[in-house]
């Protein structure tokens, strides 16, 4: 994937890749507490059925997963395991933090044994609020993440940079080089 690394991919190809990535996310379920059941309902129940969105909740191991949903309270004893799991996942990887406990500590914000939010250990891409969020709220979070991925600059993600859209990278490159006589429009629309 040297091409991607160097950011030398034509925009249409990037768009195609992005679309492919956003509709074939293998999600690793890190179910910890109450939210795990709502996540189970979103992933396993026929009423919500996350597979419709192109999210596949059955990876054999984190080595094969693109997305991890951290749902539930992360305790200090659990935190090293969460981090190790995240490190095992291949790039590019995404994290959804589900529920108040994973966002910020939630009801246990003052507890002596609870980590105050999973974002203290691993970077989080989408925060889903709720205690616990309805399964549909998690689906909304997944849709939001897919919108982001569709617009993402893959090369930047590969280089482990902050989230950058295609437009932003294009604008940066344009500012560096000579202004082209005609602006070339690349990438999709704005993030919703």
């Amino acid at each position: 994937m040297g091409l991607v690394d160097r950011g030398r991919m034509p925009a249409p190809l990037t768009k195609l890749f992005n679309m492919g990535r956003s509709y074939s996310m293998w999600v690793y379920q890190w179910g910890l507490a109450c939210c795990a059941i709502e996540m189970g309902a979103a992933f396993g129940s026929p009423r919500y059925d996350v597979m419709r969105l192109g999210v596949i909740p059955l990876p054999a191991s984190p080595r094969q997963a693109d997305l991890v949903v951290v749902s539930g309270t992360v305790t200090d004893k659990m935190a090293p395991a969460v981090k190790r799991l995240y490190e095992q996942m291949p790039e590019p990887k995404y994290v959804i933090s589900m529920g108040s406990c994973a966002n910020c500590g939630g009801p246990y914000w003052d507890s002596y044994s609870v980590t105050k939010g999973v974002d203290q250990i691993i970077p989080v891409d989408v925060y889903v609020p709720g205690c616990p969020p309805r399964p549909e709220a998690l689906l909304e979070g997944i849709v939001l993440l897919q919108q982001r991925i569709k617009n993402e600059d893959m090369a930047a993600k590969w280089r482990n940079e902050e989230f950058t859209t295609l437009q932003k990278t294009a604008a940066l490159e344009k500012a560096k080089s000579q202004p082209a006589p005609e602006p070339i429009v690349v990438g999709g629309g704005p993030i919703e």
């Binding site: 966002n103 009801p107 989230f163």
Partner: protein, 163 residues
């Protein structure tokens, strides 16, 4: 082990699966096609808290009874026109800031219960995920916008005593 049943369990199980399949074919699947159609939560569902700003007197009751300390209120006192003509101007609390941190909120509803002035309401909306955690702090304009989604309180079941 008890005596062998007449119909083997395996066949019985397959029968259940088969009947479920026929039922699905007849009545349609159970699935709600999420981004295109949405299920409607019950009216009492606790999705997000809406603020009716005019009713709020910045009395701090909700903020003090919150178990998670996630409601931040600031206000100042000012004079309001008198209720009756010729009366003295009243001192009222004016609300400067009303923030709820939905990243921390545990959706218990204590704040809505304790509010003596009917300024807080539950709305069943649930779609407000954010890529940045700071955006989950909803200020009073955003909380006011949720007011549009607040449903009417449901009627009560037979035998209930009116309050």
């Amino acid at each position: 082990m008890p005596s062998k049943p007449k119909v083997p369990g395996l066949i019985k199980g397959l029968g259940v699966t088969m009947s479920t399949m026929f039922r699905t074919l007849k009545d349609g699947a159970n699935t709600v096609q999420y981004p295109h159609e949405k299920e409607t939560p019950p009216t009492r569902a606790r999705g997000v808290i809406a603020l009716h700003e005019d009713n709020c007197t910045a009395c701090m009751l909700c903020s003090r009874s919150c178990p998670d300390w996630c409601i931040y209120i600031e206000g100042h006192k000012q004079l309001a026109p008198p209720r009756r003509a010729g009366g003295k101007p009243r001192q009222v609390n004016h609300l400067d800031r009303f923030d709820i941190d939905y990243a921390l909120c545990m959706y218990c509803g204590i704040c809505v219960d304790v509010c003596p002035f009917d300024a807080l309401f539950w709305s069943p909306e649930y779609e407000y995920s954010e890529p940045r955690i700071a955006d989950l702090l909803h200020d009073k304009t955003k909380l006011g916008e949720w007011m549009e989604t607040v449903p009417e309180a449901p009627e009560l079941e037979v035998g209930a005593q009116k309050k």
